[in-house]
């Protein structure tokens, strides 16, 4: 149970970083931390102590099937990491372009639109 709470704590830390920091690169890091906290959470869901890879081989007994780990969360996290990479690339490239325009990473100096 503890590990789930730690994932949630990590996610809140990312959210805090996103909200409280003015530097846009730090905001990006906040997003990345949140994203990885959720990935970790999904991996923890599929974790099994003493689990084995879910590959059926000849001569395996029914009892061994119970030790198989659930492969689905790992597939989900793999997909999610790839998506996260795409978003991260876009975020970093936007940061670079913003820096070229304004010469600063400070969001309060960049921000002109009134929300």
């Amino acid at each position: 149970m503890m590990v789930y709470f730690l994932c949630l704590v990590l996610m809140t830390m990312g959210l805090y970083c996103l909200v409280a920091k003015k530097n846009i690169v730090k905001k990006v890091l906040g997003i990345v931390i949140m994203d990885y906290a959720v990935n970790l959470y999904i991996i923890v869901i599929g974790y099994k102590t003493g689990g084995v890879a879910p590959i059926v081989e000849p001569g395996m007994s029914e009892g061994m099937y119970a030790r198989f780990v659930d492969p689905l969360p790992q597939a989900l996290v793999l997909t999610s990491i790839v998506i996260g990479l795409g978003v991260l690339a876009l975020m970093v490239s936007m940061c670079v372009r913003l820096y070229e325009k304004h010469g600063t990473f400070d969001m309060s100096a960049i921000s002109k639109l009134r929300g």
């Binding site: 996610m11 996103l18 997003i31 999904i42 997909t79 998506i83 978003v87 876009l90 372009r97 929300g115």
Partner: protein
């Protein structure tokens, strides 16, 4: 062989081919995007009235494989997405000439269409998330497409808030999987109803709250709206039309409907579903009030339209939320049906008139070089076609009979009052007059009045730009006058799909 996977495969293939061929063939984007979206629009019109289809990807039966489900609700959204998409591409042909890197623009556009079509057709929670991200990433890049200071800032804000929404949705999906052991929506719904017949477990409630927050962020309901008034005006006009017209609906409202009506379900046996319904209503009322009041003070034409989008999307979710509340409190089923019908009708009407208004703001900007309402005036005299179609859309969104916006708002308000929510109904009626007020402002400052300033040298835009406006204006009038045809063929199947969660489970799992 069903047509369902083609709705995703065609735009995805085009998005791949356009930049590939663009190096040698300069107009690859224009040709392939127009052809692709035209084909998709025809396919979406052909799917009207067809029975619900379930396509098992790769032949794997659910709950193991991924299913693509096309029921009444999906068809409603497919029509909106693909027709608005086709018209926006047609408008782009001339409008986007001022930008460079056009193959990239059309490629991102097709990617966005593919993502949205995927979201509305997916029968699997994680697959829905993946397509949601495809559409979102494409739209972040398209908002910043101009790469000016404003556009980059708006794109960055949209990207940050959109990523937070995605993280929340992914967290909720993980939790749902941990509790039910399945990702297929119908299978999850069956698990929830069998195992948790009486009450939702705390973990599922957490998941529902996370879903609600994530989808409200994507739908830009107040208090999650901060990105929209920046992002929608900064994008190129055809993209603004897509974002306000269909993106916030398919990624936000549709996904919210699908997850809450079909996966979690609203019924008197689930007391916590009443909390969700009340939450949707609360966010809707806030959006109607805040969006409407902030729109009055705007002098930037596109910014006014963006705030108005927040208010109007509030009406859509109000109808759906009232329907959900009636279902959750065990009220009369026909009343829930009426409220949901009103919400869905307003959804498709808003797709038509808001995309028309954003396209015409682009046409006016193209002709006059400005979108500051203080420098505009008398557009009707210099640009008769644009002026007339903008006027029709403004009348329709303001709720003047007999245009479509009047009927959908009327249905929502009648259902809200009949459900006994008098205070909320009163607020919604008052804010309908505020909507009228700021569209009267649009009419007075932009369409009518003396020809002044930037408009003096303006000329009517070329046909390729005004034909989409005229088509959408015809839709605005047609939906108002021909309701019996539209309602019977498109809206009622969508409403029935939302109301009967059990049918959905039966459809997918057999």
């Amino acid at each position: 062989m069903s047509l369902v996977p083609l709705f995703v495969a065609i735009p995805l293939g085009m998005a791949f081919l356009i930049p590939l061929l663009g190096r040698w063939w300069k107009t690859s984007g224009e040709v392939l995007a127009t052809g692709g979206t035209a084909l998709l629009a025809v396919m979406s019109i052909m799917s009207i009235g067809m029975p619900a289809v379930v396509h098992h990807m790769g032949g794997w039966e659910p709950p193991y494989g991924i299913a693509m489900v096309s029921d009444g609700l999906s068809v409603l959204l497919l029509i909106a997405i693909n027709i608005v998409g086709f018209l926006a591409v047609m408008f782009s042909l001339k409008y986007m000439r001022i930008y460079t890197g056009l193959p990239k623009y059309y490629s991102l556009f097709m990617l966005m269409v593919a993502g949205m079509n995927g979201v509305v057709l997916s029968g699997d929670l994680f697959n829905l998330f993946v397509f949601l991200e495809v559409a979102s990433i494409a739209s972040y890049a398209l908002v910043a497409f101009g790469t000016d200071a404003d556009e980059l800032e708006a794109g960055f804000k949209y990207l940050i808030l959109g990523s937070v929404a995605s993280v929340m949705i992914l967290f909720a999906i993980g939790t749902v999987y941990a509790v039910t052991g399945s990702l297929n929506m119908a299978d999850v719904a069956r698990e929830i109803s069998i195992r948790f017949g009486g009450e939702m477990s705390p973990a599922l409630l957490l998941a529902a709250a996370m879903f609600l927050m994530g989808f409200c962020l994507k739908a830009a309901l107040v208090p999650f709206h901060a990105w929209l008034p920046d992002a929608h005006p900064s994008a190129p006009a055809p993209i603004s039309a897509m974002l306000s017209g269909v993106v916030i609906k398919s990624l936000g409202v549709y996904a919210m409907c699908r997850v809450f009506f079909h996966v979690f379900g609203f019924s008197p046996e689930l007391p916590s579903s009443l909390i969700i319904a009340n939450g949707i209503i609360a966010f809707s009322v806030l959006s109607i009030v805040v969006g409407g009041l902030l729109a009055i003070g705007q002098w930037d034409f596109k910014r006014l339209l963006a705030y108005s989008s927040i208010g109007q999307i509030g009406y859509v979710t109000l109808g759906i939320g009232v329907g959900a509340r009636v279902l959750a409190s065990g009220g009369v089923r026909s009343l829930a049906a009426l409220a949901i019908l009103g919400g869905l009708f307003h959804l498709i009407n808003h797709a038509a008139f808001k995309s028309l208004l954003f396209l015409s703001s682009g046409a006016i900007q193209h002709a006059t070089g400005t979108r500051d309402m203080k420098q505009l005036g008398g557009v009707r005299e210099k640009m008769p076609v644009t002026g007339l179609s903008t006027n029709l859309a403004a009348l329709s969104i303001a709720g003047v009979p007999p245009f479509s916006g009047f009927w959908s708002k009327l249905v929502i308000l009648v259902a809200t009052l009949q459900a006994g929510l008098y205070a909320i109904g009163g607020i919604a009626i008052a804010m309908a007059f505020v909507t009228l007020a700021y569209y009267v402002k649009v009419q007075r400052e932009v369409i009518f009045g003396e020809v002044k300033g930037a408009v003096e040298k303006a000329r009517e835009v070329p046909a390729v730009m005004y034909v989409p406006l005229v088509i959408l204006a015809v839709v605005c009038v047609g939906f108002g006058l021909l309701y019996p045809v539209i309602g019977y063929r498109i809206l009622e199947p969508a409403r029935d799909a939302l109301l009967n969660g059990a049918e959905y489970i039966k459809l997918v799992l057999g």
